[in-house]
């Protein structure tokens, strides 16, 4: 017996809001350690890291909903991973060239944390989205 994925996952907006909400919660949880290690500069680096990982997540959902379908899951995940890596790489290079954050706990640790966290959430949501799309198309074929 296979469990049916709820239809709400089919909506692009639902995935987008859920990803934003979880990233916000992760940001909230990380404020205290960021402030403890690097003060206000750490919180600033944390916020920048959160946005640096959230924006490519939005873009990745758009790519998946626009171009991905259930048979192209590999390409959809590849595209979203590539977009995420591009944003983080560019962000880190720009921040490095400004020399604003000297300590590793000011910025780099939070980028790694958010990169892995949002990647996990995004992959889960992408799988759910594609499963929901697939089950809908199967329902349409049957009826």
């Amino acid at each position: 017996m296979t469990m049916k994925t709820p239809e709400k996952f089919e909506s692009f907006g639902y995935s987008l809001v859920l990803l934003s909400l979880i990233t916000f919660l992760l940001w909230l949880v990380s404020i205290a350690p960021a402030y403890y290690f690097s003060g206000i500069l750490g919180v600033e680096g944390l916020t920048l890291s959160a946005f640096l990982c959230l924006i490519p997540g939005w873009l990745a959902f758009w790519i998946v909903s626009r171009y991905g379908d259930a048979s192209d899951f590999v390409i959809a995940s590849f595209a979203s991973t590539l977009v995420r890596m591009f944003f983080v790489l560019t962000g880190v290079l720009i921040v490095k060239s400004t020399k604003r954050y000297s300590e590793i706990t000011d910025f780099l640790v939070w980028v790694i944390l958010f990169f892995l966290g949002t990647l996990a959430i995004e992959t889960w949501l992408t799988i759910k989205h594609l499963q929901a799309t697939k089950s809908k198309s199967e329902d349409t074929t049957i009826s």
Binding site: I75, L82, L89, K96, S97
Partner: protein
Amino acid sequence: MRPPEDKRPPMVVASQVLNEATSAAISMALFPLAGYWLDGMWKTAPWLTILGAIIGFSVGLKLLINLGRPRKQKAQRAAKEKESAENNKE
């Protein structure tokens, strides 16, 4: 997944997809890194990194869209043909 009407050998399809995917990944990484390197040389930070990022992202996204689009279109065409064949049978 290979569209059903695609008659090329699987290795040919795989190498083509791999080629396109690698091109997209390299262009997305190479341009910002080149911009960063030039920024270091000419003391123009961070402008050339940003310029490199914009160029790299445009090229990479174009390649990614090309990678996904024909496969989806082919699959849709095959599904349409199957549907019309079934209708003709009836």
